[in-house]
């Protein structure tokens, strides 16, 4: 069981792409900032978002 977990972990790290993960972290930071701003009381309301024509 332990050995199988070890091999699964090794397979995961062998396939791990650090550059892609870095891009994902940057994207996550951008999303996080946007989410913080939108959710804050003084941030963008739904009306302001639609006025800016932000489409999903």
């Amino acid at each position: 069981m332990k050995r199988r977990r070890f091999f699964a972990a090794r397979r995961f790290f062998r396939r791990f792409n650090p550059w892609l993960f870095l891009v994902c972290i940057l994207l996550a930071i951008v999303i996080w900032c946007a989410a913080m701003y939108v959710q804050s009381p003084g941030g963008l309301s739904a009306a302001a978002l639609s006025a800016l024509h932000v489409s999903v």
Partner: protein
């Protein structure tokens, strides 16, 4: 041009506004807030990474790229004030969510199955040793039948069900529900027998159903020499976590499809080892290996 300048100015002020807001917010953060935010970002990054890796080697990867280009086109049409193109893109985008769900339906299904399947698989491993004996017997029967059929160049397609339930595949054939023996498998695939065309599905190490229809792979990079039987095996391995064994009618080679991969030219011994590795826990697999060495 005036519109573009106005748009840039609006967006510029928005970016400045966001940075100002974030500066104020970060200044008021406590240590716990920082830890929570870092955790939040890392978790989100991991979800994004997993989603990209999941879609990367699937057809949906290209669709995702198409979607990105589509969104870029909408953004550009807005920025450049292209009213007619923008309106058409807007109208088409309104039905976008439904279309997205329809297009990504297999991937959504696959992802949810994986999400539910992996933890359940680990949970199931706890009781895996209990039915190891039956699995070893089943593996022996399958290997013996496959070797015999390979020798006589009898085509066969055997699907071993694992955590993904194959009820829909089972219902496409004729229910058998018999003990798994080499003779049973050989008589099902005996040429011109009523059930020889199609696949046999094995559930809980019993022959559950025969003459079943399997989905064909849509991959373009498959060896053109492979026939429908091998394509069906590969298609099935793409759709679920089952193990599929194919005996070629033309060459008499034994192949195994598992986890979107088709490996070929198995002998009785190598097939037994591979099946033990997949179907049994590590302990039992090494036990089977020792048994083979002893022989």
């Amino acid at each position: 041009m005036n519109f573009l300048t106005a748009m840039m100015a609006t967006e510029g002020s928005l970016v400045v506004d966001i940075f100002r807001f974030l500066g104020q917010k970060l200044a008021a953060f406590t240590v716990i807030d920082y830890v929570r935010s870092v955790l939040d970002i890392l978790l989100l990054a991991f979800i994004l990474y997993a989603a990209v890796r999941f879609l990367w080697d699937r057809r949906a990867g290209k669709l995702l790229m198409g979607l990105a280009i589509w969104m870029l086109a909408i953004l550009l049409s807005r920025l450049l004030g292209l009213v007619a193109v923008g309106t058409i893109l807007d109208i088409l985008s309104e039905a976008g969510i439904v279309v997205l769900v329809l297009i990504f339906q297999p991937e959504i299904r696959d992802a949810l199955e994986k999400l539910g399947g992996e933890p359940m698989k680990n949970f199931k491993n706890l009781s895996a040793d209990m039915d190891a004996e039956a699995t070893v017997e089943g593996i022996n029967a399958i290997c013996e039948a496959a070797t015999e059929m390979a020798r006589s160049k009898t085509g066969a397609l055997i699907v071993i069900e694992r955590s993904t339930k194959l009820g829909d595949i089972i219902r496409s054939g004729v229910e058998v529900d018999s003990k798994l023996t080499p003779y049973m498998l050989r008589s099902v695939f005996f040429p011109n027998s009523p059930l020889h065309d199609g696949a046999v599905v094995i559930r809980n190490m019993r022959v559950c159903s025969a003459g079943c229809l399997l989905p064909l792979t849509r991959r373009q990079d498959v060896d053109p020499n492979l026939g429908t039987r091998h394509r069906a095996a590969l298609g099935m391995s793409e759709a679920c976590d089952a193990v599929i064994i194919v005996v070629s009618e033309e060459t008499g080679t034994i192949s195994l499809a598992y986890n979107r991969n088709l490996t070929r030219d198995y002998t009785s011994q190598t097939l037994k080892l591979r099946l033990s590795e997949i179907l049994l826990s590590t302990h039992s697999a090494s036990h089977a290996r020792k048994e083979d060495k002893a022989k």
